[in-house]
Symmetry: C2
Subunit: 298 residues, 2 copies
Amino acid sequence: MDRLSRWKRDVEAFLEEALPAADEPPRLLHEAMRHALKGGKRLRPALVFAAYEAIRGEGAPAWVAQVAGAVEALHAYSLVHDDLPAMDDAQYRHGLPAVHRKFGEATAILVGDALQALAFEWLAGAPWPSPEVGLKAVGILARSAGSRGLVGGQQDDLSLERREAEEAELESLYRRKTGMLLEASLRLGGLAAGATPEEEAILSAIAGPMGLGYQVADDVLDVVGTLETLGKDGGLDEERGRVTYVTLLGLEGAREKALGLFRQAREAALALGDGAQGLQEIIAVMAQRVATAREMQA
Amino acid sequence: MDRLSRWKRDVEAFLEEALPAADEPPRLLHEAMRHALKGGKRLRPALVFAAYEAIRGEGAPAWVAQVAGAVEALHAYSLVHDDLPAMDDAQYRHGLPAVHRKFGEATAILVGDALQALAFEWLAGAPWPSPEVGLKAVGILARSAGSRGLVGGQQDDLSLERREAEEAELESLYRRKTGMLLEASLRLGGLAAGATPEEEAILSAIAGPMGLGYQVADDVLDVVGTLETLGKDGGLDEERGRVTYVTLLGLEGAREKALGLFRQAREAALALGDGAQGLQEIIAVMAQRVATAREMQA
């Protein structure tokens, strides 16, 4: 089994075990929390594991799955709330009905709220190398999740529909909405492994271009994926008149930008040596997605 | 200045200082976060300070206001989400328009999300006596906020409208929806003061009856306060056909129950000696509210 599949399996085993059982009251809430954590690429958990192994070598101990699960729970909460009728009003997520469609809007709000609390509960309960490190990890996740991170990015994203924006503004939005949690994933994996401040700095240097590249690639895939799968021109972003890297740079320009950022991230990862193979693979997969996209469109 | 006013002033000064400025982007979000923290009795911060002073004597250091502010931010987030159209659809809170009415539903969802993250950021950033204690505090707050605490209680509350319930069910709901965060406030104040496990146990023993008493008193005030202020019989709970301690025990029965619980809480606080004067005062104010309520109705 390759390492990406192993990490996915490990975090999913943790989630299955650690989430409240679907028949524990309040049943509707707990069933919906489990629903919210079904599916997805488990990218953030993979980054936690990959950063750990980049610092300490292969074979992360079992408790690292709890850190990975915490980051995934935080990500899942943000998707549940983003999908709400008052936000993106999405109907499906990971090929399943969105939580509010299956369980109602009130429960979906509460599912997100409970998953955020659970993320911090798991993080605070993990056997960190030292309590200092654990407390630092909580601070990192909290900042990445707050009004100067993920939530602030989402707020800007809502106000970006149907108006012009400069590239710098879009970059700032993407950094907060997605980049900071990806960076937190890497840093938390590093902290779990006892990373030195220098190693932490390298992980952050990888996270910057990787996170932005990931979002730029998403802009490309939103256009190309739609051509491919729906046979019509323009994805959700374009329907909404939302500014994206594709509207700013054109499809080819955005693709080149993403690939350039992924190259930068891979170069930054060289400083971690052979241990960073897992990280290199993750970035390669991201780059592959957007490289292939061109062929699908052609 | 009496100590209750001093604690209120101190936590409000912390919030004013520590919340992101209203003109820091995203401005709408930050302005709305500040709006969400306006008003209220600041009961939970008072419990943090009171527990601290019960253990260590008068004069909590300035950083305890950060712990108190974290608990208040968490409480404020829960009110913003409870007030949403999909939940209680409340129009006013603390005499001001509810956040979703003034800033829109999407922003109100994000305000709650950001305030929860901020609560954990503040908690993790406080200079606890030791990092172990800080990490323990994060775990306590996270559990009190999660699906087995506040959020689970709110989920049950939503499903309680227009159906029968036993007293045990209502007690369990109240314990989770309100009691656990009140208990967390006391325990966090105790941890800040370096409480021994025995002292922590006393704080929890106070929290149990105090928290339930507080909610039972609220049921009484919901009926009596309405008679007083609106001149009609039956408050919001009754309009909704919601089971309360008043529907279960009658108005007098519920009032007696609340007063009995407050007596229990004050007796438990005796074990902390003279330092617990602040705590005794807080419980006395709670009891006073419900005792006076009878007179207003008469």
